[in-house]
């Protein structure tokens, strides 16, 4: 390998974590507009480094110290970069009405949030992965409580307590894995390295790994929003400022699920796939059931989007549970598609909140007549979330269904798609209540700022990307295939 190529990839290995960290420092000193632009640049840096890591063909790793990047990491970095780009570029529109101190705090914390997520994805050591995921909770705690209303403080409180408890269980699981790795002859820091564990999987103690898997699935499942550990998600995502909930719903849940994917490769090697399959299947169907039933009588459109995130994370867990290569590829594609669309949906919901002033579905009437561009963006993002073509969620849901039947779990697919149907009907009813109908009388709110066209074009670009993904993957095809082989293991 020529040295220049070597430095480019090692550079690409560091930038995802370094760039946003640098941006957060800038945010401390420079005025907020410059800091916002720095944030956008940091996000695009993550995306760029994700693409460069993906570009190098063989799935070998670059273990410069603790960091490591293989095809799966590259895919996750692309997801983080894309969603971050949308969220950061939508942030200035939402910060217009806030004081400079709040703006500064928001930008610093947001960039730290990106740093932690990039670290989590790049970490080879599972302990470091846990630390990074826990750090995201702390950083976002203040972001959720950003608006200092009674509701947002309550949401932040519940968010921190529930997530810390959940993550603590994950740490207990990590400790058990560490203990098993030590007993199998590992020592010091490398005992928890994913590569080491993957290699020496056969020597790990099965009983302990059974306990560890259960705890890890439960712990990271909390951060991934899987039922029954999902209760924090609707409160946190509905109270956080729109770009933050876009980031959290779009990609934080998937980063937590990425951790479960990493552990799944190890446990499948030790125990065989049945244990993780049953746990994931139960979690997936529970999430779909909770999301579907709670969407029926939903009254707040941000909580509606939050429950839709739980539904889609349930679908991703379902795909992973089936375990065949095409199911994992579908789950990964679903992660990217859902991230993009949910980010656009939350940002649009933020604009709707600004124009109508109320989060309740009943107070929003005839939006399509009043704000056609905003209503179109929100409507199309909902169409994509409902799994309708030409968006990528349709392609991944179809692939998950096919994989389910191939893996002999037809009944699970049938139950899952019936629940998705209930959710579909509920979301359709709420969305049409908000969007359709004659324009309401001119609202008494004098300064309801309609969203600037610049804000909406970014969202439109996000939707276009999701649609493009649904039709033609192009270069991402091999990356997706390589990433799926890592998790599914073996050519199947």
């Amino acid at each position: 390998m020529t040295p220049t190529f070597e430095t480019a990839t090692t550079l690409a290995l560091y930038t995802p974590a370094a760039a946003p960290f640098l941006a957060s420092l800038i945010a401390l000193i420079l005025p907020w507009r410059a800091a916002a632009i720095a944030g956008i640049l940091a996000a695009t840096a993550i995306l760029a480094s994700g693409i460069t890591l993906a570009a190098d063909t063989q799935p070998s790793t670059y273990a410069a110290g603790l960091l490591r990047a293989d095809a799966l990491t590259a895919w996750m970095l692309i997801a983080i970069g894309a969603v971050a780009a949308i969220a950061c570029s939508a942030a200035p529109a939402h910060l217009r009405t806030e004081s400079t101190a709040e703006r500064r705090r928001y930008l610093v914390l947001a960039q730290l949030f990106l740093t932690c997520m990039s670290l989590a994805v790049l970490a080879d050591n599972l302990g470091l992965l846990w630390v990074a995921v826990e750090a995201t909770t702390i950083v976002t705690a203040f972001l959720v409580g950003h608006r200092r209303t009674r509701a947002s403080v309550e949401a932040a409180w519940k968010y921190v307590v529930l997530c810390s408890v959940g993550i603590a269980i994950a740490f207990l699981g990590t400790v058990c894995v560490y203990a098993a790795s030590i007993a199998a002859g590992g020592h010091g820091i490398t005992a928890l390295d994913w590569t080491h564990l993957n290699a020496s999987a056969s020597t790990l103690d099965p009983g302990l790994m059974r306990l560890a898997t259960g705890l890890v699935l439960l712990g990271f499942g909390t951060k991934a929003g899987l039922a029954p550990m999902h209760s924090w998600l609707p409160d946190a995502h509905s109270q956080a400022p729109a770009p933050v909930s876009a980031l959290m719903s779009g990609v934080l849940l998937s980063v937590a699920f990425y951790a479960i994917l990493r552990y799944k490769t190890i446990t499948d090697a030790v125990l065989g796939p049945t244990y993780t399959r049953t746990l994931l299947l139960i979690a997936a169907l529970a999430s779909l059931a909770v999301a579907a039933t709670l969407l029926i009588a939903q009254r707040n459109y941000k909580r509606l989007l939050a429950y839709s995130s739980i539904e889609h994370m349930g679908l991703i867990a379902l795909g992973t549970a089936f375990g065949v290569k095409i199911a994992i590829a579908a789950a990964l594609l679903h992660i990217l598609g859902h991230g993009l669309t949910k980010a656009v949906a939350f940002c649009a919901a933020g604009h709707i909140m600004q124009t109508t002033g109320s989060p309740d579905i009943d107070n929003v009437h005839g939006l399509a007549a009043r704000q056609p561009a905003l209503a179109a963006t929100f409507g199309i993002s909902l169409i994509s979330l409902l799994g309708l073509p030409p968006f990528s969620l349709f392609a991944s849901e179809l692939a998950i269904a096919r994989a389910g039947f191939d893996a002999g779990h037809g009944w699970a697919v049938a139950i899952a798609f019936t629940l998705i149907l209930v959710a579909f009907a509920a979301i359709a009813r709420h969305a049409t209540a908000m969007l359709l109908g004659p324009p309401p009388p001119p609202s008494p709110r004098p300064n309801s700022p309609s969203p600037r066209p610049a804000g909406l074009t970014i969202l439109a670009v996000g939707l276009a990307a999701a649609a493009a993904l649904g039709v033609y993957l192009g270069p991402l095809e091999q990356l997706l295939d390589a990433a799926a082989t890592i998790v599914a293991g073996g050519p199947r």
Binding site: G127, G145, R150, V161, L172, Y178, A179, L211
Partner: protein, 219 residues
Amino acid sequence: MSDGLSAQLLNLCCGLFLLTAVGVLWRRQVSSLITLLTVQGLMLTGIATLLAAQHRNAEAVGIAIGIGALKAAIIPWMLRRVHNQVPDARETRPLVNVSASLLAAAGLTLLAYAAARPLVALAPSASAHATPVGIAVVLLGFFLAATRQRAISQIIGVLLIDNGIAAVAFLATGGVPLIVELGVSADLALAVLVLQILTSRLHETFGPTDLDELRELHD
């Protein structure tokens, strides 16, 4: 320090460690809860130092003292400061009465021992045999958090869980590698800081931190 003595000391510390957890469930006053938490912190430091001494590894001793300072000194200080802002001392009415809590504690400890069997079977050393205590404390901490209304008791529940996990980490592996240990304690400190700030902000917005008022966010 002969091996027999250190093994006995270790068992003593673990015994007290579990006892304090049960005591937390037993007592009603928040101030006594905080003292029990401090004692538990000390016991945890004891376990850490004993294990470090057994392995004659200076670095581990340093970690143990650091954790000791954190869990036995800084955190109780913060909790007392928050507690003083709140006038009422007694815990009003826990959701599950005390006798039921203790029965549940016994059941959870039994479950912890059963679940920790693979950990125990891992190594014949005395410390490995004590790991179920850690898991028991985790479950008790969880139970406390799930059945008490006071915000302070929530924090104590979370801290109990962290103590339990740290105990499991030390006993099962003789201390988690340095960088992870540092990460854990950093997170722990930050978690407490955040909880502390939030409770103070809760005071401004909600008044006495009776968690039952926190019902506005529902479906």
